[in-house]
Amino acid sequence: MTNYDFTPFELPHHVRQLRSEVRAFLKEALVDYTPVQRAHTWTGFDSEFSRKLGQQGWIGMTWPKKYGGHERSTLERYVVVEELLAAGAPVAAHWIADRQSGPQILRFGTEAARQRFIPAVAKGELYFCIGMSEPNSGSDLASISTHATRTDGGWLINGSKIWTTIVQHAHVMITLVRTGKDENNRHAGLSQFLIDLNSPGVTRNGITDHTGEVHFGEVFLDNVFVSDDMLLGQLGDGWAQVNAELALERSGPERYLSSYQLYEHFLGEIQDEPSELELNLAGNIAAELWTLRQMSLSVTGKLATDKSAILEATIVKDLGACFEQQLPHNIQAALNTENNSPSSQSTADVLSYLLKASPSFSLRGGTREILRGIISKGLGLR
């Protein structure tokens, strides 16, 4: 009847064992983590933690063993990822590399690039960032002006990128640049390059966001040389590749769990003699959370059998972002406060942090408007 399909999917029995392993590990690894640190989930940066996770074999889980991967299933990776997010583990350092850059290199990269980067990523030691957005190109990504010109044995890249998450810590940036122009097709002539951020000509600055923290930044590329084998995929195929990459970026459980920590705190707040108003909100959030998880699992089930789920993933991301964005506001509205603060200081701190962080949930990884455009297309409206 419709163009999307959300058949229920059940994770197999054996993931229970894996869950307990991850939980036991996290219990120890996160002992000293404050509630606000946990509330950062996938924006919390801790390279020590990422290294430990690599030792556990929980980065690059699905990748070939010959590149340092572990050849485990998509479903096992899903379970580890959702456990990390639910616990509020600081996964930012390896997050992008594990979720999209690694798979992108395995799929499109040269053998040299695979050998050079993938094993170190799987160890939790090498970090990637995504160089797509530019000062004058956000939603309209095809309008970028950073460009590469041919030189002996490689390319010279000039331009700049902005809003680049963890750029100040990352080692490599997968960078979308212009390598040609076709007056009739603005999506043609784009290519992806692997840029070593320690190369001469690279300047990076952190940008402080309105939570007062530095998570993203800007990069200036001034005649930066990249060798031929650091071209990712085919020359001129950048647009299709970027879209494949964004699909990886949009389907995971991170798209509805960003405020999950606050929900746990809220349940703590209402533990004794909850009012009907509080029960009501707790129930409404539970229904939404449970549904989003079922939807996300359904997408995972499809991806695990190599089916495409672009429309479904987009639907989950938009619903998930609306949910996690509204959650702090709904909880603030319902909290029983005295002198303007809830009974526990950690609830107050987590709420305050998430109120500030939440506007980004519907921007990063494709804005709400871009996602609804994709859904309209899927419905045949454009």
């Binding site: 009847m1 419709t2 999307y4 959300f6 058949t7 229920p8 059940e10 994770l11 197999p12 029995h13 993931v15 229970r16 869950r19 959702e82 639910a86 616990a87 929900y263 746990e264 705190h265 349940l267 703590g268 209402i270 533990q271 909850p274 009907e276 509080e278 029960l279 009501n280 909100l281 707790a282 129930g283 409404n284 539970a286 229904a287 939404e288 959370l289 449970w290 549904t291 989003l292 998880r293 079922q294 939807m295 699992l297 359904s298 479904e312 639907i315 938009d318 619903l319 408007e369 996602l371 609804r372 455009g373 859904i375 309209s376 419905l379 045949g380 409206l381 454009r382």
Partner: protein
């Protein structure tokens, strides 16, 4: 979906399309009801969840979902889902299974007496909002008497008074009162969880998903046909984004109801069904507002089909538990589970056992 569900869905889709080909039948009239019921029974759909020994298809709740959703998608004004559920619940507790339309409901102020002279069990009580309570020959009630919970199976003709009511979509929601009426059968239940309410909520959640999908389809078609300012409405981004949101709600309701059916097939699913009904309910306000908005005035007419779906949605939101009911239920469950066990419990309930 397995092959059986596929075939079933296709034949039910055809039957339902035929039933509705001449407009919305007025099934609150008993003769119309009886005639339609015979057509439905020719396919044997109401035996969907019965075992093959009991003359059924041996289907599960996920097969049920396929039918329930179609009932919503085609706006079928008959207690098909109710009968499927009643037969399944009756089978599960070894009660006799009547060969008729069976409605389901929860009785208030019930009293149950054993009449020694006639060796009959007599039932007194009021049952509000019974789907086709007057037209359906039999009813299955959940009731409480002296601290015990029961399923009571009764012929609706024994009602001492009956009042016909219609919901917003002209579906029968009748009130029946019984005074010392003989029961066909009575069963004392071990659990206090009202499975008539729970299964009914699941049915409504799936029907809501179907009606939302119908409203979505009508909207998508209409904005492609209707032109203003020299182009199809579908070319305006404001329209596209509203319909995208409607699709998101329809997808969420459908996934929730289907997943809850999946959980019900595995065992206790009170939590999942509560979540699914609540999520489906929450989709209704914004979705119906969007569907009507993009249809303009034509969608506000009696003649246009849109109201068959939107009016059902508004009715169904309140039936078998409105938002407040299920949100409070879930809230209580969550407070019991507690902050530190929440994630454990969520995953434990869903991972394969």
């Amino acid at each position: 979906m397995n092959e059986f569900t596929d075939i079933l869905t296709t034949s039910v889709d055809r039957l339902f399309s035929d039933l509705m080909a001449n407009g919305m039948p007025e099934t609150y009239e008993k003769p119309v009801f009886d005639q339609l019921w015979r057509a439905i029974e020719d396919l044997g759909i109401s035996n969907l969840l019965l075992s093959e020994d009991n003359g059924g298809f041996g289907g599960g709740w996920q097969d049920g979902f396929a039918i329930f959703k179609q009932i919503g998608f085609h706006a079928i004004p008959m207690p098909i889902g109710e009968t499927i559920i009643a037969k399944k619940l009756l089978q599960d507790c070894n009660m006799p299974i009547p060969d008729s339309a069976i409605t389901i409901g929860t009785a208030h102020t019930a009293s149950i007496q054993h009449d020694k002279s006639s060796d009959q069990i007599l039932f007194s009580g009021d049952v509000p909002a019974l789907p086709w309570g007057v037209a359906a020959p039999t009813a299955l009630f959940h009731c409480k008497s002296q601290g015990e919970c029961y399923f009571a199976l009764i012929a609706t003709s024994h009602a001492s008074t009956s009042a016909q009511h219609l919901n917003e979509a002209n579906e029968s929601r009748d009130s029946l009162s019984f005074v010392n009426a003989p029961l066909i059968d009575l069963k004392k239940l071990d659990s206090s969880s009202n499975q008539v309410l729970v299964a009914g909520a699941l049915l409504k959640a799936a029907q809501i998903a179907g009606a939302l999908e119908a409203a979505l389809q009508l909207s998508v078609q209409y904005v492609q046909e209707r032109k203003q300012f020299g182009r199809a409405l579908s070319k305006f981004q404001a329209i596209q984004h509203q319909i995208a949101l409607l699709a998101e709600h329809a997808a969420a309701a459908s996934c929730a109801a289907n997943s809850a059916c999946h959980a019900y097939d595995k065992g206790d699913a009170d939590f999942e069904i509560a979540a699914a009904k609540l999520r489906a309910n929450r989709a209704i306000g914004e979705s119906t507002s969007i569907a009507h908005q993009v249809h303009g005035a034509i969608g506000f007419t009696q003649e246009h089909r849109l109201h068959h779906f939107t009016q059902r949605l508004w009715s169904w939101r309140g039936e078998f538990g409105n938002d407040r009911h299920w949100a409070n239920y879930l809230g209580q469950q969550l407070v019991q589970i507690g902050q530190t066990n929440l994630w454990k419990e969520l995953t434990n309930r869903s991972d394969a056992r």
